[in-house]
């Protein structure tokens, strides 16, 4: 049902954890739906310097979280914002159809974290 790459990210997820002094935190999903993702980012010079995640969810939820952290780490915020949920699924070699709509939220989590960072920066400027 899952590709080898999905199972690899599921069994050895990259960048699991939290960042205590994160510059931005994004939360997507809902435990009621069976998926909840939290993405922590550290930003330096408009680049994602560090990224960590915590996920409650199925194999696809964990694998997409892990994959998106690899895809955006070191990238500019703009580049990270251009990464879509679909691109994450494609990078994993595809997901089963029923997983595309419910567990494929990790890129949204990154976008939320960036939004959180931007709102904090804006707050500081004012």
């Amino acid at each position: 049902m899952y590709s080898e790459l999905v199972m690899d990210h599921f069994s050895n997820p990259r960048n699991v954890g939290t960042i205590a002094d994160a510059d931005g935190v994004g939360t997507v999903g809902n435990p009621v739906c069976g998926d909840l993702m939290k993405i922590f980012i550290k930003v330096k010079d408009e680049h994602i310097e560090d990224i960590k995640f915590q996920t409650f969810g199925c194999g696809a939820a964990i694998a997409t979280s892990s994959m998106v952290t690899e895809m955006v780490k070191g990238k500019t915020l703009e580049e990270a914002e251009a990464v879509s949920n679909k691109a994450v699924a494609e990078a994993l070699g595809g997901l089963p159809p029923q997983k595309m709509h419910c567990s494929n939220l990790a890129a949204d989590g990154v976008h939320e974290a960036i939004k959180d960072y931007r709102s904090k920066v804006a707050g500081k400027v004012e």
């Binding site: 069976g34 409650f56 969810g57 419910c102």
Partner: protein, 391 residues
């Protein structure tokens, strides 16, 4: 611990018993005649079919004319509900069932609602048990059919079928029970149960897939759901699955003969498994009833983790199990059974069903018990819910 292959999903299906397989084999290419034909090779098939029907009838306490061979549990449930409902439409349009039935019953009820039938879905208590008094109060003068499962497939809870049978006696209401999960664990005498219809599926009791039994009591209103030849006394058209029926009958005889020893075996392993997991993992619930449950069923919910993730980890270690999480079904909803039992939705997502069987050993149980703490701990370490709860 060394990696093992452990099958703990016997509620999903069971391996065919070697004796069942052996009994079936001649009926594929040696004694292959169509039982409806008149020549020698057909008479052999006819004889096998008649013998099987007699044996099944004997086990259920029924007459041979009351046994219909089907393709399995879903067909049995469909035929029982639709066959009764459409045949009784002039008398009424009300059906009573429970909220924890198998989808073969629930979705058939939804189908019947489109044809003007009204369905009451009885709630269950926290253990998953239907209250017969509540059922009695739901009866109206339009009630034509009651369908309550004998034992639940997810949490193994055993329903008070004989008690419901008693209260329906003399009421001119047809009573069906889906006994698919009960076969081999509970006695199946239809007179003791007081049912008009009873559904069985062979592959749940070490018989082959694609074959089952529908008991239909004489004089029960019934409209055949499959038209064609006159097989099964015009109640189920189609050339009989002779090898399947022979294999199923052998498996059923064995299941009934060995019921007590199998139940002892499963109960002992179940208690060892439950004790082992509850003793080694925190924040875990044992769903269902302690004693009114199938001897082979264990259903656990692990807080802060999701069921499919547990299953994938178990699978990597050679263990086959099942979950009530939404991710293991086609829908976004977690198990309707756990929800009906009042288990919070996020906890229902973290459910794990382990169903034991003949091949399982204490070593299998100890292996699973040794794996679960590590799997759950690893998943909790990455779960934001566990982190929230810790704060």
């Amino acid at each position: 611990m060394e990696k093992r292959t452990v099958y703990m999903d016997h509620a999903a299906t069971t391996p065919v018993h070697p004796k069942s397989l052996e009994a079936m084999l001649p009926y594929f290419s040696e004694k292959y005649g169509n039982p409806s034909s008149i020549y020698g090779v057909a008479r052999e098939s006819r004889k096998a079919l008649d013998d099987a029907r007699e044996a099944v009838a004997g086990i259920l306490g029924a007459k041979t004319t009351e046994i219909i061979f089907t393709s399995g549990g879903s067909e049995g449930d469909n035929a029982a509900l639709k066959g009764t409902a459409f045949a009784s439409k002039s008398k009424g349009n009300h059906i009573i069932t429970s909220s924890i039935e198998h989808h073969a019953v629930l979705h058939t009820c939804h189908f019947l609602e489109k044809f003007g039938f009204e369905v009451t879905y009885l709630p269950v208590d926290n253990y998953g048990i239907v209250d017969p008094d509540e059922l009695a109060r739901a009866i109206t003068d339009k009630t034509i059919l009651v369908s309550i499962m004998m034992a639940n497939n997810e949490v193994g809870t055993v329903q008070p079928i004989a008690e419901i049978g008693k209260l329906l006696k003399g009421k001119n209401i047809t009573f069906h029970t889906d006994a698919v999960q009960a076969a081999g664990a509970l006695p199946l005498d239809v007179n003791d149960l007081g049912v008009n219809l009873l559904t069985l599926s062979a592959h749940k009791f070490y018989g082959p897939k694609g074959v089952g039994i529908l008991y239909l009591k004489r004089a029960t209103p019934f409209l055949a759901q499959q038209q064609g030849g006159g097989q099964e006394r015009n109640r189920r058209a189609g050339t009989e699955n002779v090898p399947g029926i022979v294999g199923m009958t052998t498996a059923l005889k064995l299941a009934v003969e060995n019921l007590e020893s199998n139940n002892r075996h499963n109960t002992q392993l179940r208690e060892r498994l439950v004790k082992g997991v509850l003793g080694s993992v925190s924040k875990v619930r044992y769903n269902g009833h302690q004693t009114k449950r199938l001897p082979n069923n264990v259903n656990l919910s692990f807080e802060y983790v999701e069921g499919e993730s547990i299953l994938l980890n178990l699978d990597m270690m050679g263990v086959a199990a099942s979950s009530g999480s939404a991710c293991t079904s086609a829908s976004l909803e977690p198990s309707h059974v756990l929800m009906a039992m009042g288990i919070p939705v996020e906890i229902a997502h973290g459910s794990l069903r382990l169903t034991l069987g003949a091949s399982n050993t204490e070593e299998d149980v100890d292996y699973v018990v040794s794996l679960l703490p590590g799997i759950v701990e690893r998943l909790r370490a990455m779960s934001p819910l566990a982190a929230q709860a810790a704060q």
